[in-house]
Symmetry: C2
Subunit: 326 residues, 2 copies
Amino acid sequence: MTYELEQESIIKTLLSSKVKNVLLQLPDGLKPYGTKIAEELQRKARVTVIIHGDPCYGACDVARDEAKALGIDMIIHFGHTPMLKLKRNIIYVEARSKLNVTRLVAKALPLLKKYGSVGLAATVQHISAINKVKLLLKAHGIKVLVGKRQGLLKYDGQVLGCDFSTCISIASKVSAFLLIGSFTHALGLRIVTRKPVVLIDPYQEVIEDVELKVKKVLAKRLYIVQKCLGLSKFGIVIGLKPGQLHLELAKRLKDLLSKAGKNVFLISAREINSQLILNFPDIDCFVISACPFLPIYDADLYPKPVLTPNEALAIAGVKKLEEIYG
Amino acid sequence: MTYELEQESIIKTLLSSKVKNVLLQLPDGLKPYGTKIAEELQRKARVTVIIHGDPCYGACDVARDEAKALGIDMIIHFGHTPMLKLKRNIIYVEARSKLNVTRLVAKALPLLKKYGSVGLAATVQHISAINKVKLLLKAHGIKVLVGKRQGLLKYDGQVLGCDFSTCISIASKVSAFLLIGSFTHALGLRIVTRKPVVLIDPYQEVIEDVELKVKKVLAKRLYIVQKCLGLSKFGIVIGLKPGQLHLELAKRLKDLLSKAGKNVFLISAREINSQLILNFPDIDCFVISACPFLPIYDADLYPKPVLTPNEALAIAGVKKLEEIYG
C-alpha cells in the first residue's frame, strides 16, 4: 500500500469507545483499499463496518446524512484534513503518501534555481515531505518560504483545491511556487497568486513549470466568459454536499444576474456532472456555487459553458475580468 | 408538452398555503420541463423555486434530506404516485401521458385475441387509458381483468418496477397480460406472474409479445447466478434513497452468505452504477438490496455479476432457483 492509513491508531480509538457501527468514507482513489480496512477493523476493533460507495471529493463531502440514515456511530473519513466544524463522531485519516518526493525535487533543481526564491506548498498526501524538501532546496542555495496554516488548512504549506491561503500570504515575497500535488492544485495556485508554479506530481512522476498550460486554460476562461455575456438563460447550481452548500451565495448570484437582465434558475445537485447539464437543454449557461474552482478544474467534462461564482460576478458587471485573472 | 403536469392545481394549493420555498423533483425524462414549471410557479404562486438536478428513479427516491438542507417548505415530486408514508410537505404529481394508446391497442388486437383472456396493467403515466382500453378489448370479444389496487400502488391495474401486486392477484385467472408501459415493466411482470406479456410502449410506438426477450434475460440470470456460486468475495449494496434503504435485509443477506462460506462486505450508495462496481476491484460479485429488480433491469450496465436479493438467497442455499424463475 502506498499510503499510511493509520489503522492501528483507529483501532485503538474504536476499542476505547462504545462505537459499534462504522462508516468508511474514502475518495475513489482509496476505495480499492476499503475491504482490507473493513476486514481489519471488524476483526480487531469488533465493529460492524459499512463502506460508503458514493464518490467523495474532499473534506467538504462528509456523509453525515447517510451515516444518520444507516444508524452509524462513527464516520472514518479518509484522505482529507478536517474542514467542517462537525461536533463529533468523525475521525479524519489523512492518507499520507509513501512515495519518494525528494528524488523528483532533485531533478527539478535546475528549474527552481532560476527563480532564486520559492514558496513551498503541498497537498495533504505529501505534506510530510515539506521539511525534507525545504532542507534540500536550501542546501542548493534556493531561498524557501512556507506559508503558515490558516483558513481551512491544518498544516503550514498545505493547499486544498479551494483554499490557497497559506500561499497567498507569502506570494509577494517569492518569485515562484513549488507545489507537490496535482495539476489541478497547481492551476488553482497559479490563478490566485499569479506567480509561476513548478509542479511535482509524485503519482504521475511529473516535474513541470505549468505556465504554458495555465495560459491556455485562462485563454479558454476568457473565451467562455465573453461568450456567456451574450446568453440569456442561466442556471445557478447549488451543491448539496455539506461543505458545498452555499445557498446565500447562490441566491445573491441569482439576484445580481437577474438585475443584469438574465433569466435565472436555481438548481440543486449532489453530483455535478455532464448529465446534470444535459438534463436542462434550454439553459444556456451554468454557474456552480458549490466550489470556487470546480468549473475550471472540470471544464472539459461539460457540454455547455459553466462558470465560477467570480466569473458570474463579471457577467453581472459587479467584478472586472482583470480582477479575476489579471 | 406530452404530459399533464397539473400546474393549475399546484398553484391553487400553493396560494392557499404559507409555502414560500419549493423544490421541484422530476425524473430525468421530465427535467427539461423544469424551467417552464419553475417560471410559472414563481410568477403565479409567488414562491421561490429550486429545481433538483440529481437523478430521480421513482417514488422511492424523494429528496427529503436535500429539501431540509435547502430550507424547503414543499417538495413537488413529479412522475410518480405516493409510496413513502411521508407525513407532510410533499405534493405528488403523476405526469399523465397525453399519447394516444387506443390506436396502438387496436393494432395489437390480433396478438391479444389468441390469448382469449387478458389481465390489463399500466404504469401511472398511462393509467388514464385503462378504461378505454378495457372497453376496446371487450368490444372485440376479449375477456379483460384489472387487478385491484394494493401494496405500493394507488390505482387499479397500476404497476411499478418493484410492485406487480395488482397483477399477481389476478394472474391465475388470465392467459396473458397486456401492459401499457416500458419493456422494463413488462420484464418484471413476466418474471413475477410467469404469464405471457404483450407490451404496448406508447413512447417507442412498440407492440410486442416480450416472451423471447424475457427468455434471453432469464437464461442470462441463470448463467450469472451459477457463476456466482463459485465466487468468494461478495458486496451487499445498501441503497440510500429513502424508499430503498433496506438495512435489515442487507444485514440478513450478509449473515446468510457468510454462513454459506462467502466473505461479505456491506457497501452503502445513493447512486448504484458501474462506477460503484469498478471502485471495488477485489469484490467478485455484488448484491443490490435497494430494489428487488434493479440488477435485472440494469444488468447490461455492470462490469461484474450483480444479483437481486432473491438470487443471493439462492446462492446462500435458502431459496431454490426454480422458486425464483420457475
